[in-house]
Symmetry: C2
Subunit: 285 residues, 2 copies
């Protein structure tokens, strides 16, 4: 695996006294070149090592959507939090793909595919949990304090990854997550393709299944728009609430009347998420 | 001209307790269908009439760039300011165009074209100064207190429109404006095409020329990134500073080290611009 970390800078933009930067690197986990973005707050220029919020985006997104549209940099600069945004799947002409927007490139679903031809590149779970943080912590002025968040498919990714790795994250949050993918059309399509028709492996990547059985509890915050077109068919936040009750999980879930599935919703509440993570990133653990 | 205002809603997204909405309408000034966006802050839901900031975007932009990337809604919601973002040119298959990104559709330069074939549709000055505000003030819960701002080509538009119509605006601001288009490649190309090779009409649309002779003075704020690739060849803020000295114009212009021409720069300073306009929109005039 990647013992020496080589990354190439693609772009850099000063933002709120800090820097937004894009990099490419050859991922040994995904077997392809990958791009990610990092926001480094101004505190790093004085030598501070800052904690990191990993942001997992939704279907069709790249590293750019969050950095362009979420309006997170102002509060990240104020609090001194770095933000890392990976792409949503392996990419490239040699990488398997599908015509649908909800499968293949742009739709990695943050699992390790076991089915051919997907298993050659689609190992987003390992990439997000292991390879990317190792690279970030080796090359940037950050601490090993981590939080994780995401939107829609990325909200599913953030919740499942945190629930499976509670020792690696101080806190988890999500906007409009796919809370019960084993019972949602997006999840069923992706899991059938990447994990196979044998459903016995699916609950391992279902936030509601994992939360209902959780024993090591890290704080979780979920916000959902009440006017989200995908609310009932794909997202099902009520299953997550039921799961949290079963395990007495510290979940703060709120439905916000009138808000939809877009970044207009995310930007309206991102400051609250950053403050939530800041509080828990700075607890001794 | 448009005595009855007909607009069609295209989209709406709740944002910071207010609403982002896109509309299309048939512009009698531009002879084509036009799209614009409006952000209505939460104060309007209690019956308040709020002031309006008009935002003019730069080359290649539509109404969407500012609304997606500027992160202005948070402060607009806090202060109670509506924001209106028109498109940057007439649009459509029947509208004259050019292969360059800096001419034709997406590059209206906020002037009234006098040269064929451009003069049939390219009347962005009249659209922004007259038709659009009349429509906004007839159909939305806004007052007739107006401010104007913009970026790059739109910064040129905001400054020239405010300088030519000081009685219509309480304040003007710009990010990275084309300060002296009659001496800049972008401006020379656009003015030659839209206004003709006779340069005698050009200074009427040059912010530095207008500011140097201004007698009715409204507060102006300009911010410029020091690492902007277009700074020396296209933007020339020093000519605006010289012009302001000649007329003792109330111009506050700052160069910000390390910032580039992107929305990462705009979002870093948009709160300051909104506060600046808020102060002057609420002075009795």
């Amino acid at each position: 695996m990647a013992s020496n970390h080589v990354i190439e800078n693609i772009s850099m933009n000063k933002s709120f006294g800090g820097w937004h930067k894009q990099y490419s690197h050859q991922s040994s986990t995904l077997n392809c070149a990958m791009r990610f973005a990092i926001y480094l707050p101004p505190q790093v220029s004085s030598g501070a090592k800052v904690p990191v919020l990993y942001w997992l985006s939704g279907l069709t997104c790249t590293d750019e959507n969050f950095m362009h549209k979420a309006a997170a940099q102002r509060m990240a600069a104020e609090l001194g939090i770095a933000i890392v945004a990976p792409d949503t799947s392996p990419r490239g002409s040699e990488v398997a793909d599908d015509e649908g927007y909800d499968l293949g490139q742009g739709a990695g679903f943050y699992v390790n595919a076991t089915q051919a031809p997907w298993n050659r590149h689609y190992q987003m779970y390992d990439y997000v949990v292991t390879e990317l943080p190792a690279l970030i912590e080796a090359l940037f002025p950050v601490s090993n304090k981590r939080a994780i968040s995401g939107h829609s498919m990325g909200g599913h990714g953030a919740l499942t990854i945190a629930l499976l790795n509670p020792e690696r994250y101080c806190s988890v949050s999500a906007f409009s997550p796919i809370c019960n993918p084993i019972n949602a059309p997006w999840g069923i399509k992706a899991f059938t393709t990447y994990l196979g028709a044998d459903k016995s492996t699916w609950p391992q990547h279902d936030a509601s299944e994992l939360m209902s059985k959780a024993t090591q509890l890290i704080p979780a915050k979920v916000d959902q728009g009440g006017a989200d077109n995908f609310l009932q068919e794909q997202l099902m936040p009520e299953t997550l609430v039921t799961a949290a009750k079963a395990s007495n999980y510290p979940l703060a879930l709120a439905i916000h009347e009138g808000y939809d599935h877009s970044y207009y919703f995310i930007s309206s509440f991102i400051d609250e998420h950053l403050r939530f993570h800041f509080e828990h990133l700075n607890e001794s653990k």
